[in-house]
C-alpha cells in the first residue's frame, strides 16, 4: 500500500514539461553525503535521496527550486534553470548540533548556558515496547526513582519520584507537562515525543511555582519542519511472559503440611493416611483434587501489538505533524472454549491521535494549534481485576476441583473466595473505557518592534477526560462437596451461592481542565553579555463533571506569577534568578500566597582562557553549577480547604422531658477541626552539580549532589494532652520536617573502534531521606520516634533465630504469645525482660528503593546496531507476609510457596536457623509479625533491554522509494538477578499478590519515507 502511495505521489510532479537533474552532494571536506534529501521546494512529494556515492537523480519542472538537506547540516537551495542538468552541492555543517540543546521551563536553551539541574533524555532510549511511558524511566533517566508495580494490561504503569520521596505530608509525585500543559504521562505515544527533560533542582522548577516542588517532567511533542513530507511507520509485535511465576507446593505436600501444622500444635490432624494416598495418586480428582490453578488458568504468554504512523511536513507559511497509533495488550487469562459471544480475557487497547499545526500568520506571529487525545478500552473478567490474582494465590490445590463431574461449578466460599475458574471465565466481562481530548492554542508574537529580543507568548488549553464503565456480568450457581461420599459412594453437594443471571450495568465520570498562560520574555546579547528575562502568569481550573459529593463539586484552581532573570558573560559565567508567586485554594485568606525565590550560578571552567589555550583539545566543557531556592507545595491530597471546620450530629444528645426518646435532640460536634493557620509546605533546595565533556565530546557526563529540606509538612499532631478536650478529633498543622539528600548523575563514552561505533553509558540516582521533626506522643525510647529515620522506614522486632527447646524459652526474655520450640526468638532491646512494643526498632531500609542505576552498551557496525541495557535498584527491603509465606495463617485459604517446603523447623529436624519457623494452623501471634526474620532485601539487577537491529542498505531501500528501513528484535526484562527469588522484587509487594511484571520478546520494523 505504501509503495502505491509513493508511486502516485511521484507521478503528480510529472504533469508539466519535466527535465532530469542529477548531481552529487558532498560535505565541506568533499566527502559524499549518503542519504541526503533532495526535493522540490513547496511542492508535494517525497523527493529522492543520495546514494552511496552522494549521487542523485530527480525529475523536476524547469525553474523549480531544489532543496538539499541533511541532518546536522545547513540546508542549501538552488534555483534550477532550464539548462542546468547537473547541480552539485557542498553542504556546511550546522553550527548548533542537536544534543547541545536543552528544553527548559522557559524554552530551548543551549546546554552550555544552563545553570540548573536538568536531565535530557534521548527519546530513542525511551522507545521500549511497553504501553506506558512511565515503565521506560527507571535506570534510564538520572534523578528518577521508579518501580513498576503490576503487569496487568491497562494497569501496567510505574510509579516514580524525582530524587526520591521528600515529604510524607502532601503529595510526592512530580509535575508532568506535555507541551506546557499538565497532562498524563502514561497514555502518551512515545513516537510523538520530540524532547524529554527532567527538571530537578529549585532553579529549574521555580518557574512552575508551587507545583514544581517535587520536580518537573517536561515533554514536547513533534512539530512539522519545512521541507518534504516525512512519513514514519512503525509496526511491532511482542510476545509477553511473566518475569516470575510463583511456584506452589502440590496437593499431597499441602495436605501433609496441614496435618503437620495441626499435630505440632496438639490439634487433631485433618487427613487420614488413606486420604493422603488419594491425593498422591489422583484416584478421586473430585473429592481429593490436586489443582495447579495458575498452570491451568494462565496462558504461557500473551501477544501485544503496536503500530504507529506519522506524517509531517510543511513549508514556510505552515507546518504540520499528524500521528496516529494503536496499542493492543492481550492478557494472560485463558478462556472457556464454550463461550464464544464475548471475551473474558484481560485486554487493553488504545488509539492515540495527535495533530500539531504551526501557522506563520505574519513573519513575526506564529499560531500553533494542537489537538490530541486517545481512546482506550480495557476489558476484564466480570468480577475480575485484583480479585482474580488474589484468588489464584489464595486457592489451595486440594479444596475444590476446577469443575465437578456433572458440570457443576465448585466454590470454596463466596465472593472472591470462590473458584478461580469461575472468576476468570464464568462471570461475564467488564469494560472500562476512557476518552480523552486535549486541545491547545498558542500565540507567539515577536515584539522586536518595541525592543529587540522581546517576545510574547500566550496559550490556552482545554482538556476533557471521560471515564466510562460498562459491565455485562453474571454469577453462576456454585456448590461444594460434603467431606465424605455417602454410603452409595456418591458425592453429596451443598449449595454455596445462588445464581445471578447475566445483568448489565454502566456508569461514568469525568473532568475537564482549562488552562491559560501568558508569558513575556526578553532575550538579547550585548557583546559579551547575554541577558534574558521572563515574566509568566498562569491559571488553571479542573472541574469534576459527575461527582457532587462534599467538596468534590468545587473546581480545583491554581493561579500564579513567575519570573526569571538570566545573565551570562561570554560562555563562561552564568547567573540566574527565578521567583514564583503562587496562591492556593487550600489556605485561608491571608495565608494563601507565597513568594518562592531561587538563585543559581554556573562557571564553565573549560571556557577560561588559560584552559582553552592548553587543554581545549580534551577539555571541552567543565561547568560547575550551584543553585539554591525555595519552592512551596500545597498538594494536601484528599484534604481540601483544611482551614474550614466541618460539623456533624454526634452520638450523644439530650432527651428533653426524660420520657422515652420522643423529645431527643442530637448534639453537634466537630467532624473536622479547622486549621486556620495552615499554609505552604516549603522546600529549601541546594544543588551542586558538574557537567563535563572531555576528549572532543567523547566522554560526557553530569553529577549532582542535592540537599533538600522540607519544612512545614502538614501532619496530624499526636502529642496533644487530653485535657484540651478534643476527644478523638486530631488537629493537623504544618509541623513536620524532612531532609532528603543524595547524588545523581550520568556519564557516556563514545568511541570509534575500527568500523564499530561504540557507546557505553550509565546513570544512577541515590537518595536518602529522614524525618527531622514530627509531633509524636512522648516515649521513653528514642528509637520509637520517627525523628532521625527514613520516611516510611520499616520497623519491627529483631529476631535471633528460633527457640531450640523449652529451656531456651525459659531462659529468654518473656514473650507474651506463648512460644514453643521452633518459634521465633526476639531480642530484648531495652533489656526490661519483656518483649513488647518498646522492642520494635527500625530494621532494614524502606520499600521504595533508595538507589536506582542503569548502565548499558550500544554498538553500531555497518547496518547492524546492538544495544544492551541493565537496570538495577538497591537499598530496598520489606517484610514479607501473607498466606503464601505464613503457611495456614488464614486456615486453608492461601497457597504455600514451594520455598517453604523442606525449609521449616520440624520436630524431626529442629534447626534453629531454619528459614521458616514451626508450622501452625490458623495464625500465630508470636511468629507472624514484622521482624527481621521476615525482612528481605529487595535489591535487584535486571537485563532490562537487549536489542539487535538491522538497517537495510540504502541501495535496496532506494529501490522501493523508502529512505530508511530498520528491522529489530528486542528482549525486555530477560534476566533478573536478585537475592529474593519468590516473586518479582521490583513490584514492592509484601505478599506477592500482584499481577507479575512482563518479560517480552518483540520484533518490529520502522520505515521512514
Amino acid at each position: 500500500m505504501i509503495l502505491f502511495l509513493t508511486g502516485s505521489l511521484s507521478g503528480v510532479s510529472a504533469q508539466e514539461q519535466s527535465m532530469k537533474v542529477r548531481g552529487r552532494v558532498v560535505d565541506s571536506k568533499n566527502m559524499p553525503l549518503v542519504g541526503a534529501s533532495v526535493y522540490v521546494k513547496d511542492v508535494a512529494g517525497l523527493g529522492v535521496t543520495t546514494d552511496i556515492n552522494g549521487d542523485y537523480m530527480i525529475d523536476i519542472t524547469p525553474y523549480s527550486t531544489l532543496v538539499f538537506s541533511y541532518v546536522g547540516y545547513d540546508s542549501s537551495e538552488v534555483l534550477v534553470k532550464e539548462n542546468m542538468t547537473t547541480v552539485n552541492v557542498k553542504l556546511k555543517e550546522s553550527a548548533e548540533s542537536i544534543e547541545d540543546v536543552v528544553v527548559t521551563g522557559t524554552g530551548v536553551q543551549k546546554k552550555v548556558t544552563v545553570t540548573g539541574a536538568i536531565s535530557t533524555v534521548d527519546v530513542e532510549d525511551l522507545k521500549v515496547p511497553t504501553s506506558s511511558l512511565s515503565n521506560a524511566l527507571a535506570g534510564v533517566v538520572p534523578g528518577i526513582i521508579a518501580r513498576q508495580t503490576s503487569g496487568q494490561p491497562g494497569q501496567n504503569i510505574s510509579e516514580f519520584w524525582i530524587r526520591g520521596i521528600s515529604t510524607f505530608g502532601a503529595g510526592s509525585s512530580a509535575l508532568i507537562l506535555v507541551d506546557g500543559f499538565e497532562r498524563d504521562l502514561n497514555s502518551l505515544n512515545v513516537e510523538d515525543i520530540e524532547s524529554f527533560s527532567v527538571l530537578k533542582d529549585a532553579s529549574a522548577t521555580a518557574i512552575y511555582g508551587s507545583r514544581g516542588a517535587n520536580g518537573v517532567v517536561l515533554i514536547t511533542t513533534k512539530r512539522g519542519k519545512p521541507g518534504k513530507v516525512n512519513i514514519n511507520v512503525k509496526v511491532e509485535s511482542s510476545y509477553n511472559t511473566r518475569t516470575y511465576t510463583p511456584e506452589f507446593v502440590d496437593g499431597f505436600t499441602y495436605a501433609s503440611m496441614m496435618n503437620e501444622a495441626r499435630e505440632t500444635r496438639s490439634q487433631q490432624r485433618i487427613f487420614t493416611d488413606n486420604e493422603l494416598f488419594l491425593f498422591k495418586s489422583g484416584l478421586d480428582p473430585y473429592l481429593y483434587p490436586n489443582v495447579d490453578w495458575m498452570g491451568k488458568l494462565l496462558k504461557n504468554g500473551a501477544m501485544s501489538y503496536r503500530a504507529n504512523l506519522d506524517i509531517s511536513g510543511g513549508g514556510n507559511t505552515a507546518r504540520y505533524f499528524v500521528s496516529a497509533s494503536y496499542v493492543n495488550d492481550d492478557g494472560m487469562y485463558r478462556t472457556d472454549e464454550a463461550l464464544k459471544d464475548y471475551d473474558t480475557n484481560a485486554n487493553y487497547q488504545r488509539w492515540n491521535y495527535r495533530m500539531n499545526v504551526d501557522i506563520d500568520v505574519t513573519k513575526t506571529t506564529l499560531v500553533s494549534i494542537g489537538v490530541s487525545g486517545w481512546l482506550s478500552k480495557q476489558n476484564e473478567p466480570g468480577f475480575g481485576g485484583g480479585d482474580i490474582w488474589n484468588s489464584l494465590i489464595g486457592s489451595n490445590p486440594i479444596s475444590i476441583p476446577m469443575v465437578y463431574e456433572d458440570g457443576r461449578m465448585p466454590a470454596y466460599g463466596t465472593g472472591n473466595r470462590t473458584n478461580p475458574y469461575v472468576l476468570i471465565t464464568q462471570t461475564g466481562y467488564m469494560e472500562n473505557w476512557q476518552n480523552v481530548i486535549q486541545t491547545n492554542v498558542t500565540l507567539n508574537q515577536k515584539l522586536d518592534f518595541i525592543t529587540q529580543g522581546l517576545n510574547f507568548n500566550g496559550r490556552f488549553g482545554f482538556d476533557t477526560y471521560n471515564y466510562n464503565y460498562r459491565g455485562h456480568r453474571q454469577w453462576p450457581e456454585q456448590w461444594r462437596a460434603e467431606r465424605m461420599r455417602d454410603t452409595n459412594g456418591e458425592i453429596v453437594y451443598n449449595k454455596i451461592s445462588d445464581e445471578a443471571l447475566m445483568f448489565q450495568e454502566a456508569s461514568g465520570s469525568g473532568n475537564r481542565k482549562e488552562f491559560v498562560e501568558a508569558t513575556l520574555s526578553y532575550d538579547r546579547t550585548f557583546g559579551d553579555h547575554h541577558v534574558g528575562a521572563i515574566l509568566r502568569y498562569t491559571q488553571d481550573q479542573t472541574t469534576n463533571t459527575t461527582d457532587a459529593s462534599g467538596y468534590n463539586w468545587l473546581p480545583r484552581k491554581h493561579q500564579g506569577l513567575a519570573g526569571r532573570v538570566t545573565y551570562g558573560w561570554r560562555s563562561r559565567y552564568f547567573f540566574d534568578f527565578n521567583f514564583g508567586y503562587n496562591g492556593s485554594e487550600n489556605f485561608a485568606p491571608g495565608h494563601q500566597f507565597g513568594f518562592f525565590p531561587a538563585y543559581s550560578v554556573a562557571w564553565n571552567i573549560a571556557e577560561e582562557p588559560f584552559i582553552k589555550k592548553s587543554m581545549s583539545s580534551w577539555f571541552n566543557m567543565f561547568k560547575v553549577r550551584y543553585s539554591y531556592g525555595k519552592v512551596g507545595n500545597d498538594d494536601l491530597g484528599s484534604y481540601r480547604f483544611p482551614y474550614l471546620e466541618q460539623f456533624m450530629t454526634g452520638t450523644t444528645g439530650f432527651n428533653y422531658g426524660d420520657y422515652y426518646n420522643d423529645y431527643r435532640v442530637d448534639g453537634l460536634r466537630y467532624s473536622t477541626l479547622s486549621s486556620p493557620e495552615v499554609t505552604w509546605e516549603i522546600a529549601t533546595k541546594h544543588d551542586l552539580g558538574l557537567d563535563f565533556a572531555l576528549w572532543g565530546n567523547r566522554i560526557t557526563g553530569t553529577v549532582d549532589y542535592f540537599h533538600e529540606q522540607r519544612d512545614g509538612i502538614y501532619m496530624s499532631r499526636q502529642n496533644i494532652p487530653a485535657i484540651i478536650g478534643l476527644w478523638d478529633r486530631i488537629p493537623y498543622s504544618n509541623v513536620g520536617s524532612v531532609l532528603s539528600k543524595g547524588v545523581d548523575g550520568n556519564a557516556a563514552l563514545t568511541q570509534q573502534l575500527g568500523q564499530v561505533n561504540l557507546t557505553v553509558r550509565g546513570n544512577f540516582t541515590y537518595s536518602r531521606n529522614k524525618h527531622l521533626k514530627g509531633d509524636p506522643l512522648r516515649s521513653n525510647y528514642p528509637y520509637t520516634y520517627w525523628e532521625g529515620y527514613r520516611v516510611n522506614q520499616n520497623r519491627g522486632y529483631i529476631a535471633q533465630g528460633l527457640f531450640k527447646d523449652y529451656d531456651d524459652i525459659r531462659n529468654s526474655p518473656q514473650q507474651s504469645w506463648n512460644p514453643m520450640p521452633g518459634d521465633i526468638k526476639y531480642k530484648d532491646i531495652n533489656a526490661d525482660g519483656v518483649i513488647d512494643g518498646n522492642d520494635q526498632v527500625p530494621v532494614g531500609t524502606t520499600s521504595v528503593p533508595g538507589l536506582i542505576y542503569g548502565f548499558g552498551i550500544s554498538a553500531i557496525w555497518k547496518g547492524f546496531d546492538f544495544n544492551v541495557h541493565f537496570q538495577g535498584a538497591g537499598k530496598s527491603s520489606l517484610f514479607i507476609n501473607g498466606s503464601s509465606v505464613y503457611p495456614f495463617i488464614d486456615g486453608d485459604w492461601g497457597n504455600i510457596l514451594s520455598d517453604v517446603d523442606g525449609n521449616y523447623w520440624t520436630l524431626d529436624n529442629p534447626n534453629p536457623n531454619a528459614k521458616y519457623p514451626r508450622l501452625s494452623y490458623g495464625g500465630n501471634a508470636n511468629n507472624y509479625q514484622a521482624s527481621s526474620f521476615w525482612l528481605r532485601d529487595m535489591s535487584y539487577l535486571r537485563l532490562k533491554t537487549l536489542e539487535i537491529g538491522y538497517t537495510l542498505p540504502k541501495k535496496i531501500t532506494r529501490l522501493i522509494h523508502m529512505e530508511n528501513v530498520r528491522f529489530y528484535l528486542v528482549g525486555q526484562n530477560l534476566l533478573t538477578f536478585s537475592d529474593f527469588k519468590l516473586w518479582d522484587p521490583e513490584m514492592g509487594s509484601s505478599n506477592g499478590q500482584q499481577y507479575p511484571l512482563t518479560k517480552s520478546v518483540t520484533i518490529g520494523v520502522t520505515i521512514k519515507l
Binding site: 509496526v235 509485535s237 510476545y239 496441614m258 487433631q268 485433618i270 488413606n274 494416598f277 488419594l278 495418586s281 489422583g282 484416584l283 478421586d284 480428582p285 491451568k296 488458568l297 496462558k299 504461557n300 504468554g301 500473551a302 501477544m303 485463558r334 478462556t335 472457556d336 472454549e337 480475557n345 479444596s399 476446577m402 469443575v403 456433572d406 475458574y421 476468570i424 471465565t425 460434603e482 467431606r483 465424605m484 461420599r485 455417602d486 454410603t487 452409595n488 459412594g489 453429596v492 453437594y493 451443598n494 449449595k495 486456615g891 486453608d892 520484533i1003 520494523v1005
Partner: protein
Amino acid sequence: MLALLCSMGLGGCDDAHVELDVPPSYASDPNSKVSFTSFTPTEGGVRTTMFIYGDNFGTDPDLIDVKIGGQTAKVIRANNKEIYCIVPARADQGYVEVTIWDAAHENSVSHSFDQRFTYIYNTVVGTLCGVVDSEGNAAYKDGTFEEAGFTQPGLIYTDPKDPNVLYMFEQSASQLRRINVANETVESLIATASGWNQVNSIAWSVTADTMFVNNNQSNDDGPAMFLLKREEDFKVAHLIMRGKDCNCVFTDPVEGTLFCVIGTNAKLHRPEWNESTQMYDLGEYVASIAATGQWFQSISFVPTGDYMMGTSRQNNYVFKATYDREGKRPTNPLPFVGSGAGYGEGVGLGNFFNGPRQGVFVYNEDYAASGAAPQDCYDYYIAGSANHCIHKVTPTGAVSTYAGRGSVSTTGNVDGYIDGDLRQVAQFSWPEGITYCESTQTFYISDAGNHRIRTITVQ
C-alpha cells in the same frame, strides 16, 4: 513478516483455552493380561476405603465388579492400576473377588484373592430413608423408601407392639407419619389435619392400643389433645381435650396416668376424664416444672416409673423430678444437667446443649452389673439440634457426645450428611428426634437438616 507474527500468535491458540481435566474413560485392554496384585487394608468395618492393586483394569467403574465378603462393594474410581472402592455393610464372608469386564460387557476376567478380608462390626451411623434430590431439596412424599421424602422430620417414636414400625411428625405439615422398616414404606396417617396446628409428641397407654397426641395452639377453646386408636389403624383423630399452649404429653408407663405441660407458665397438668363431656379437663396444675414459661417439647418417664426427665428446648437444660406415686405428681423438678447455650462435655450444670429436642431412655446393662438400682440403669440420649450431635446423659449427670460432629475438616463444619463411625466420621444436621428400638438395638434419628431418618446400629 506480518504473516509470521500472526502465526506466532496463532501458535499460542491452544494456550488460550482452559483445558478441563476429564479423566479418560476406557475399558480394560482385551489383548493384554489383567493382573491382580493385592488389596489394602485387610480388615475394617463398613465404609472403609479399600484399594485393590494390579494392572489393566481400565478406568470405567461400570465395567468393574467388586465383591467383598459376599456383598457387592461400590467402585468409586479406577485408574488402570488401582481400584478405589468402599467396603459395604455386613461384608463378613471373608474373601475379596474382582471381575473386570470388557467394553461390551460380555467377557470378563475374575479373580479371588487368597488373602482374607476380616470384617469388623462397629456401631455406626447409617441412613434409613428420605429422598433428597441433587440440589439438596426434599419434598413431602409418601411411598416406598425409593420415593418417600421428608421435609422437616420431628419427634419420632417406636411402636411398643411392633419393632418394625416407627411413628414420626412431619413438622412442615403438622402430620403424623408411619414408617415400616420391614416393608420399607412411609405413609401419612391423618387424611386431613383437622384442627392440627402444631403437634409434636406422642404418649402411649399402658397397653399401647391408644395413642395421645398434643396440639399446641393459642386459643383457650382450641384443641389441645387428640386420641388415636390402634383398632382404627391410628387414622382417626378424636379430640379429647381443649386448651392452649399444650406443649407436650406423656404417660406414666406403670399406671398409664396422663400428664401434659402448658408452656406459657411451665405448669404440669394431670388431665381428668370427664364422663359428661367425654373429654379430659385440664384442671389445675399439679407441679411447676420451671420458674418461667418455656417450651418443653419432650418429657418422658424412666421405664421403671420412678422419675421423669425432660428437655427445655429454649433454656438448654434437662430437668429431673422424682415421681410421687401416691400423689400422682412429680416432686421437686430441678435442672439436672445443662445451663446456658453452648456445646461441650462435662458434669452437671454446664453449657452443653443448644436447643435440645427429644430425649429417650436406653437400658445399659453395665450399670446393672455394677449393682445400681433398677431405675439408675438407664442412659438418657438427646437429639442435639443446633449442636448437630446426639448427647448422652448418664444417671449421675455426666454429659458426653455420643455421635456426630465427625469428619474434622478445614472448613470447621460439624454439621453435614456423612455416615460412618459415630464420633470420627458421622455428621448430622439439626437432629430433632431420637428413639430406640430394644429388640433390634437400633437408634432412629430424625435428621431435620438432612431431611432423612438416620440410624445408629451395628453394621
